[in-house]
């Protein structure tokens, strides 16, 4: 079945994972900037990472005909160092025009500290000044509910931010309603231990409906499953969901949100046919 993986840290995965995802029906993968598992020592290290995301990974995915897109930022886990954050944010604009960059992300909070909040505001300002989509990471475990509320307040305080151009990721039962009520999109991350299991994610869809919700694996260097979105689709089928309803969640919804970026195209454009470009690419920021 066809699907879009809207959140995966492919720099941490093997080429075998790319092959398996494509074989399972993946048509596009989107990679937010992430923490490396250790703190990068300088802004120059981020410059190299942004090159990896915008140059190397699209080529690696393309070996299997898979479209690879990315989001850029300094991850919340490194946001305690505001000076480093300022240096990294100054680097980002030079990458924003690259053809596979969809926006600013995954930004947000980790331990809900004052410096993290300050760096989140800086990222939101950067996105607003450059008219970029935003992908927000919400904190782990005991910090999630508080961090989600603080994040929503930052977004609401900036009048330039249109809620429908922001996705708040890693929602669970105790945060999904507040995100949807603010007009944002919400992402459910399917992890073996933390965040959502497939069964719970489908429960959330049963309770809140399928509008403005997507599923992702957020696979990275930790315990995570690159194919869990399609595993969840199989679980939906076992629970009696129609193929159309499943496809809305795993394909149509991420395409609708991501198509707000004019760069998001599912297949290579045919340069000789404007109609094909119009149908398969995002209509642009004014959508």
């Amino acid at each position: 079945m066809r699907y879009i993986e809207p959140h995966a840290h492919m720099v941490s995965r093997t080429t075998d994972d790319y092959r398996a995802m494509v074989a399972a029906g993946c048509e596009a993968v989107c990679e937010p900037a992430f923490w490396a598992g250790f703190d990068r020592g300088s802004a120059a290290a981020f410059h190299d990472y942004f090159r990896q995301l915008t140059e190397y990974e699209p080529r690696r995915a393309a070996q299997f005909g898979l479209k690879h897109f990315c989001w850029l930022c300094l991850n919340p886990k490194e946001a305690e160092d505001v000076k480093l954050a300022e240096e990294v944010l100054a680097l980002i604009p030079q990458f924003l025009d690259r053809p596979t960059v969809l926006g600013i992300g995954e930004i947000g909070l980790n331990k809900n500290s004052r410096n993290e909040l300050r760096v989140l505001e800086m990222h939101v300002d950067l996105a607003a000044r450059h008219d970029q989509l935003i992908l927000v990471h919400t904190p782990h475990l005991e910090d999630k509910r508080k961090g989600t509320r603080l994040t929503l307040d930052v977004l609401k305080a900036d009048s330039r931010i249109r809620p429908e151009r922001v996705i708040i990721d890693h929602v669970e039962e105790h945060t999904v309603r507040m995100v949807l009520d603010r007009g944002h999109w919400a992402g459910m991350t399917l992890y073996p231990v933390s965040k959502c299991t497939p069964a719970r994610a489908i429960d959330i869809l049963d309770v809140y409906g399928s509008e403005r919700l997507w599923l992702n694996s957020a696979c990275d260097w930790g315990e995570s499953v690159p194919l869990v979105v399609v595993h969840t689709a199989l679980e939906m089928r076992r629970r009696g969901w129609s193929q159309e309803a499943i496809e809305r969640v795993i394909y149509d919804n991420p395409r609708e949100f991501l198509s707000q970026s004019p760069k998001f195209c599912l297949r290579e454009e045919r340069k000789d046919t404007t109609e094909v470009r119009r149908l398969k690419c995002g209509p642009g920021p004014g959508f």
Binding site: E80, K111, E116, L141, E173, G240
Partner: protein, 89 residues
């Protein structure tokens, strides 16, 4: 889905997880030394399970969550442990 269908699909899985929780609590009882703030939070969450509320998953998550609203002065580290401790170490 009917209740029968839910039971058919998930009963064995839920039974397995329930017994894992029971064995975890037994293991804690057999172990030596003091427990920390995580165990009371876990017991609070367990109480939610035996209630008749329609939002037990949400309430169980709330039992582990930080209820405060102000940002902390400085991040105490990077990781999360799964339950909120009123006085951070």
């Amino acid at each position: 889905m009917t209740r029968q269908q839910v039971l058919d699909l998930y009963f064995l899985d839920a039974r397995c997880k329930l017994i894992e929780v029971a064995a975890f609590l037994d293991r804690l009882d057999r172990a030596e030394g003091e427990a920390d703030f995580r165990l009371p939070a876990f017991r609070d969450a367990l109480r939610v399970l035996s209630s008749d509320r329609p939002d037990r998953a949400l309430q169980a998550l709330m039992a582990f969550s930080d209820p405060t609203t102000e940002p902390v002065p400085k991040a105490p580290g990077k990781g999360a442990v799964g339950a909120w401790q009123e006085t951070q170490p």
